[in-house]
Assembly symmetry: C2
Homo-oligomer: 285 residues x 2
């Protein structure tokens, strides 16, 4: 059995642990600063056992699933001590910073900068679920900087999870993900905040949630500890996307103010095209 | 069998027709300006038969499920010609306008101003589905202006759909619904627009949609014809909610710009409270 270590037993780390325990020939060890997380992960069968950081040297795989601001420092510490054959990968939602930080590390070739595009709005080891990654995309950045044997090991592991692999430049990744994922999170958090501020009537919020609010505000349940460093680390792209978003909201508001029925109708009708992208491409894959 | 007429065979009208055909002792007739809708509704078994407007006089129930800007005029025309025992109700997402428009109609007592809080992002007769209204809330405005026998008939019908009834003042309804439902639609439409404008790479949108974008942008697939008049008819409330939303987005953006990790964390952590409202109240009901 191969020794697999997951550092950070939250939604993503926990779900990887759970699925790889089931699908791979791994003994899965966990590390988490939060003693409660270890306890829960053991109780829920998310990991086989706890392990100390100084025991990871001979691990076959080390997965870094901690908040993105901690990834670079931790990645270097791990690479400093693991074997020549160890695969180390992170799962962070921002990729440019980590790629830049470790580019000159002597063991850069043992590292895979990955971003499995999967998740839910829940957090902690109790959020870990099976099959989270099936049919999802896993983006790998600067794969050319990884040793081919290590990369092959990573790809075999991702295939066990039924993930589709896409290679992408880290800057390109961060730009795309700001618009498609990070902006969704900001818009949802602020929707939740606005409704909480204005609606003193909690029963009304609940009663009316079925009108689209519940799904649109879903991401506002996400972990503040996970998302604060993501927003700061992908700052420039997120601010650009937010400026565009706010501009569009203001323009739409003006159309309402001016009773511009045609403008509103055309804007919404044009935006309906998103349906084709989300359904159409799906069918062709 | 009672004669039930549905005017407007879209998502809501079609789903009401479908479910009442199955659960009630009704013969369900349909009226729609769009001949294609009638054809589809007949083919899909959404309605039993087409009917002409001048044949609705002896209907037991007439349901108005057309865009909100058309509701007042149509409601008056229907009330002008139906019998003393006919229940007429609308299902529009804005209630103040219709309540004001018909307050002095001699047959006001035959009318119920309703808003069943249910839906999907799809439209047309092909979007009609069974069980759409189960366990959802149906808001009735100015119920005191409806004859008690007619109101009883309406409530019996809504109970067949397993809906929970709430009484609400129309102004209060429009204020709540602007924040909880209409704002969600604007935020989602503008998210879709922003991503479409910036992301020329459709495959990237699709690949990354699983990161929260797909669910947050879901409402941007909604019908422009339905939503244009809603936004215009509930203009004041929506503009107020949009101003709050844009203010919150700008403040959040500033926190990112100023690397205010504490501010971001506290804001998101505070907003996580929406989880308690959406789950907590559910459990107590």
């Amino acid at each position: 059995m191969e020794k697999l270590v997951v550092i950070g037993l939250g939604l993503i780390g926990g779900s990887l642990a759970l699925d790889l325990k089931k699908r791979g020939n791994y003994k899965v060890f966990g590390i988490d600063q939060n003693a409660e997380h270890i306890k829960k992960a053991l109780a829920l069968g998310v990991i086989d056992a706890e392990i100390d950081f100084n025991e990871i040297t001979d691990a076959s795989v080390v997965i870094i699933a901690v908040p993105v601001n901690i990834v670079p420092k931790l990645a270097k510490e791990i690479l400093d001590c693991v074997s020549e054959d160890t695969l180390v990968f992170d799962v962070g939602s921002v990729k440019n910073e980590i790629c830049k930080e470790i580019v000159n590390h002597p063991k850069r070739k043992n590292f895979v900068a990955a971003h499995p595009l999967a998740g839910t709005e829940f957090s902690g080891p109790e959020a870990a679920i099976l099959n989270l990654f099936d049919d999802k995309v896993n983006i790998i950045c600067e794969a050319d900087k990884t040793d081919w044997k290590i990369l092959d090991k990573a790809i075999s592991l991702f295939k066990k999870l039924n993930m589709r692999i896409k290679m992408m430049h880290p800057e390109e990744h961060d730009r795309h993900i700001a618009y498609v994922s990070h902006l969704s999170h900001v818009s949802s958090f602020m929707l939740g905040k606005t409704v909480l501020e204005i609606e003193k009537n909690e029963q009304a919020i609940f009663d009316m949630a079925s009108t689209g609010f519940a799904s649109t505000v879903r991401l506002a349940k996400s972990s503040a500890n996970t998302w604060t460093p993501i927003f700061l680390e992908n700052k420039e792209n997120i601010i650009k996307s937010l400026n565009e978003y706010i501009k569009n909201l203001n323009e739409f508001k003006e159309m309402i103010e001016q009773n511009d029925a045609n403008g509103l109708n055309e804007t919404m009708h044009g935006t309906n095209y998103i349906k084709n992208i989300l359904n159409g491409i799906k069918q062709s894959n």
